[in-house]
Amino acid sequence: MSHHILEVKELSYSYPDGTPALSGIDVTIHHGESVGLVGANGAGKSTLLQHLCGSHLPQTGRVRVGDVPVTHGTLREVRRTVGMVFQDPDDMLFMPTVAEDVAFGPLNIGLPPDEAERRVNEALELVGAAHLKRRPPYRLSGGEKRSVAIAAVLACSPDILVMDEPSANLDPRSRRLLIKLLRGFTHTKVIATHDLDLVFDLCERTIVLHQGRVMADGPTADIFTDSSLLYCCGLEPPLSLQPREGCTAS
């Protein structure tokens, strides 16, 4: 199944003002893998994700989605394979109702209206948001917006799900529901986040980025127990692995 492989080779990227964002990134993600992408603020996580969905094109090096190199001419194909869930769901929900938002992708692919409708129902059902179908997006809570944003991507039937900070701004219950939902997906998943506990729950493999370079790439359990590596990259072990004293009344 080579078409589900994400391959990043010698990728470097600098912002227009010259600030280097990525330098010499080498990563290969295989079919069905669930990979956490962690790093401090400014480590290059979002920039790397934007390369995976073709929002940025490589300046040096290359990115391949399956057999297709990510270039200007292949963006349409790449974006059908890679579904990107943005950090702020408000960026993704721009149509008057939830149903129209979820149907936006399928209709753009050129699916007939009844097939698009079927996909809308399936995707909303899958994320447990079928009851929100006729609601305008600005009337949804943060957790509901996130679920609908994920449904909007799932409706396009991508093979690879790329997510930027999926648990940001969610309350604990919504976060727990999100983890349960994502665990049920069989897609290849790349999750960039500061929520190391979420990575611990969902991803068997973790890539640590620091100042635009890959500092570590391996099993999540090994990486998250290597405190010196995490501290060196501006991170800390997940809360679930940290001893806590708790707050006592004086």
Binding site: C53, M84, F94, E100, A103, N108, P113, Y138
Partner: protein
């Protein structure tokens, strides 16, 4: 009115558009066409015509009554436009002092007439626009405009304006709140502060616009907004509505209804 309240009122109009009345069920194109005819016929009256504008008020009243829209809500929302209208017409009474008619001892100048006319026209136009949104829904209006031939580029702009006005107002509300917490809620921002607040809001908006565009591209956007669901039909009910509105609007545009009614009333008492 605070930013948050303005947002709530705007949402209320949107809620009203989800009602189920015969007027709501009409194809949006019929209501848009009738409104365009209303605007053209009303705005093409002469600048000193004030009395002839009055029969035009029947159209927004009809939309509001048939569509179950509280008139008070429309008038409250329309009042927000008053300062701008006043700015436009405030100097007319000063510049145009030709006496046009006498109301008993009061000499009414051309400036006073044209100022009243501007005020009335604006209120009628804004109220009708708001009533149209409340009985049709903004997205349906956009769709109707598209089906009536409006270029997709303008249509997308309109749809986005309406969708993101909520996000933008929330963002502006947060900025104003943060400012108020740091310098006392009672003081209004100075012009200088407004400048930097607006500048910052513009930059945030540009940032968001870039992200929204990327999100659209990621889901296959190629310049045209896809249409979801089965389009409604322009049937007999729509034709009847357009004919009824059209005939009334043409009648009040061609004939001076207040003068005719006045003449008839005068005849009765003679």
């Amino acid at each position: 009115m605070s930013i948050e309240n303005a947002l709530l009122e705007l949402r209320r109009l949107d809620d009203l558009a989800h009602q189920d009345t015969p007027l709501h069920r009409l194809d949006a194109r019929a209501k848009v066409l009738a409104t365009v005819l209303f605007l053209v016929s009303m705005l093409s009256l002469g600048r000193y015509e004030v009395a002839r504008l009055l029969p035009f008020a029947a159209f927004p009243w009809l939309l509001a009554t048939l569509g179950g829209v509280p008139l008070s809500l429309l008038l409250r929302r329309a009042a927000l436009a008053l300062p701008f209208v006043l700015m436009v017409g405030i100097f007319n009474p000063l510049f145009d002092r030709t006496v046009q008619l006498h109301l008993g001892p009061l000499a009414v100048t051309g400036g006073m007439l044209s100022f009243s006319s501007i005020l009335l026209r604006s209120m009628l136009a804004v109220t009708t626009g708001l009533a149209l949104v409340a009985v049709t829904g903004f997205d349906n209006i956009c769709r109707a405009l598209g089906r009536l031939g409006m270029p997709s580029l303008f249509l997308v702009q309109l749809q986005f304006l309406y969708r993101y006005i909520f996000v933008l107002v929330e963002e502006a509300g947060r900025m104003m709140h943060a400012r108020a917490l740091r310098c006392g809620a009672a003081t209004r921002p100075s012009l200088r502060e407004y400048r930097s607040l607006l500048g910052s809001l513009l930059l945030r908006t540009l940032d968001r616009a870039g992200r929204v565009h990327q999100a659209m591209l990621c889901r296959g956007f190629s310049g045209t907004m896809p249409e979801y669901g089965m389009p409604t039909r322009f049937g007999r009910a729509e034709l009847r509505f357009c004919l009824a509105c059209g005939l009334y609007l043409l009648a009040v545009r061609i004939f001076d209804l207040p003068l005719l009614l006045g003449g008839m009333a005068g005849g009765l008492f003679r």
